[in-house]
């Protein structure tokens, strides 16, 4: 299921503003890659180009190439809707659909794309909720509103919703920053478990989290406000945190930043 992402020389623009410049990287399948860096360094922006979510913002566009195995995500014939079915996303704040029950939330991606068979949906909903480590907590109240769950449960519900459409890649944009430490731990355990099936990319401000869950870590930085963000280095997580090649990375990791 999982696929490799190959980015070459990617620039991201919002209107005339160049937000990210010259990023090239490879994200290995069945691994967790963490993006770290100061606020505004373009890591979230770059993450959103991996499933073309940046196009939702008016004026968002890219130059360069993103390959998912042998598929060019920015080929003219490529439909962004199709890209997003292949590359799922979990957001910073848990955002279950407020009008839908727990079941309907998980089934949403399939149902809104035309899957009607109740038995198919039931099977996938259970599998996804188990996959998101939420099944035991909600199996008796699948028809209750998803918004009634706790923040951590809501976020796992959103992960279940994202994996229900069986994507190849799972993007996570600071998935724990709105959660308490116990919920964060639950999500982190889930991420480690999910990497056997998915390619996972996670943006985080929490360096301990990057150290705990990721196999590889990418450090992004900006020179100054208004300048585009750049990828400084990408390496094995242990190397980034213990013996980074770049001075900027070392400074950021050790808190001597800015």
């Amino acid at each position: 299921m999982a696929k490799r992402i190959d980015v070459s020389d990617l620039n991201v623009y919002y209107g005339d503003f160049k937000a990210v410049e010259g990023v090239s990287m490879t994200v290995e399948p069945r691994s967790v890659t963490a993006f770290i860096g100061p606020s505004g360094c373009g890591k979230s922006t770059f993450l959103r180009t991996l499933n073309r979510m940046h196009e939702v913002t008016p004026g968002g566009r890219v130059e360069g190439k993103v390959m998912l195995d042998d598929q060019d995500l920015y080929a003219p014939s490529m439909d962004p809707v199709h890209v997003r079915r292949t590359v799922g996303m979990v957001f910073q704040r848990p955002n279950p659909f407020p009008t839908m029950s727990i079941f309907d939330n998980v089934a949403a991606g399939l149902r809104l794309n035309g899957v009607k068979s109740r038995s198919t949906l039931e099977g996938i909903v259970e599998k996804s909720l188990r996959g998101a480590n939420l099944w035991n907590e909600v199996k008796d109240r699948l028809n209750k509103p998803g918004a009634g769950l706790s923040g951590g449960q809501q976020q796992r519900l959103c992960i279940a919703r994202a994996i229900a459409v069986q994507p190849q890649v799972l993007l996570m944009d600071e998935p724990c920053s709105a959660l308490d430490p116990i919920s964060t731990l639950a999500i982190e355990e889930l991420i480690i478990r999910l990497k056997s099936e998915y390619t996972i990319v996670i943006v985080t401000h929490n360096m301990q989290q990057a150290a705990r869950v990721s196999d590889r870590t990418a450090f992004f930085n900006i020179k100054a406000t208004g300048e585009p963000g750049r990828l400084i280095e990408l390496d094995d997580t242990a190397k980034i945190f213990n013996n980074p090649s770049m001075k900027a990375t070392e400074d950021y990791i050790s808190g001597r930043f800015g």
Binding site: V56, R85, T86, N95, T99, A108, N113, M207, Q208, S254
Partner: protein
């Protein structure tokens, strides 16, 4: 307590290292050991007379405004209800019409006017609501640039058009240009002009309240934009949209100028929108007002007024019921 003043001055947060395996610095305590901070905390405990007085004044002003707004409302409701109550408690009022009842005769029915009002309002809503909601969807979800700005401006202008001007416009098109007789549908068309801007604006506001995160969540599942709007955005905003539609409807149900110009009163039943004059509650009120000196007519006028208020109230209650049943889950 082993904490020293030195600990207080250490810049918190930025200094904590984040090596593999470390759990970060524990937060420094806020024990007020340094004198400056102790002063600050004590000054916050001191009562602030000035602020308490301001608070009190603001409270009085707000309650005063509330009473000022409620007095006329209660007054109107009481006057209408006490004068009209007698009339609407007769069963003939809800079943009969005014045929062969002279102004000097007491009683009669209002069913012809109730039906006319409901039929016209229904036709108005059937035309105006789809146009208004689609316009709002365009403005919020799709509209960028010049066209959206022009449409938004036009909606503003339309909402400023006096009802009598809307009525005269329809008269000019319907009667003068096309030469068709005045009828209930012409009234509905003029009411459509009045209803579109209010419903468009209220729907726009409700759509803007739907968090962008929900749209993004849907897009991220590979759901096309139009499906996202139909299945995620509209259901989330549903209760607000319904409320807006009903408020718009309540407003046009009480409109009188277009009715006087395009739909003169008649005492008979008239259920055909496209044929002849259609009686309505506002025109019935107007008809009986012209003979207000006669207690028989005055009674009917109050009765019709109370009936109109009840209809609008029922409409609002129905709207709340619908909205609650499908409300965003708590």
């Amino acid at each position: 307590m082993t904490m020293t003043a030195h600990d207080e001055t250490r810049p918190g947060g930025t200094g904590s290292g984040a090596r593999l395996g470390t759990t970060g610095g524990t937060g420094t305590s806020t024990t007020p050991t340094d004198p400056g901070r102790r002063d600050l905390i004590e000054s916050m405990d001191r009562p602030h007379r000035g602020r308490a007085i301001k608070d009190h004044v603001a409270r009085i002003v707000m309650w005063g405004s509330f009473v000022l707004a409620v007095v006329p409302l209660v007054w109107i409701l009481w006057t209408v209800a006490s004068n009209g109550f007698h009339m609407i408690t007769t069963s003939l009022w809800w079943t009969g019409n005014q045929r062969n009842i002279n102004t000097t005769d007491a009683g009669g029915g209002a069913r012809h006017a109730i039906e006319g009002t409901l039929i016209q309002a229904g036709a108005t809503a059937a035309i105006a609501v789809p146009i208004a909601i689609l316009t709002a969807i365009y403005l919020v979800e799709y509209g960028r640039g010049r066209l959206a700005r022009v449409i938004s401006f036009m909606v503003d202008i339309l909402s400023g058009v006096p009802s009598i001007v809307a009525a005269l416009f329809i008269y000019a098109v319907w009667v003068t240009t096309f030469g068709i007789d005045r009828n209930g549908f012409a009234v509905s068309l003029s009411l459509v002009l009045l209803m579109i801007p209010t419903v468009t604006r209220s729907t726009e506001e409700m759509l803007k309240l739907v968090p962008n995160e929900l749209r993004e969540a849907s897009y991220a599942l590979g759901v096309p934009k139009w499906v996202t709007i139909v299945r995620v955005v509209l259901p989330t905003a549903f209760s607000g949209i319904v409320t807006g539609v009903l408020l718009g409807l309540a407003r046009v149900m009480g409109e009188t100028a277009p009715l006087l110009i395009l739909g003169p009163y008649t005492k008979n039943f008239q259920r055909d929108l496209f044929n002849g004059n259609m009686p309505t509650l506002p025109t019935m009120i107007n008809e009986d007002r012209s003979d207000f000196a006669l207690s028989t007519a005055a009674e009917r006028m109050w009765g019709a007024a109370l009936t109109l208020i009840i209809l609008v109230l029922l409409l609002n209650l129905a709207g709340r019921f619908i909205a609650r049943r499908s409300a965003v889950a708590k």
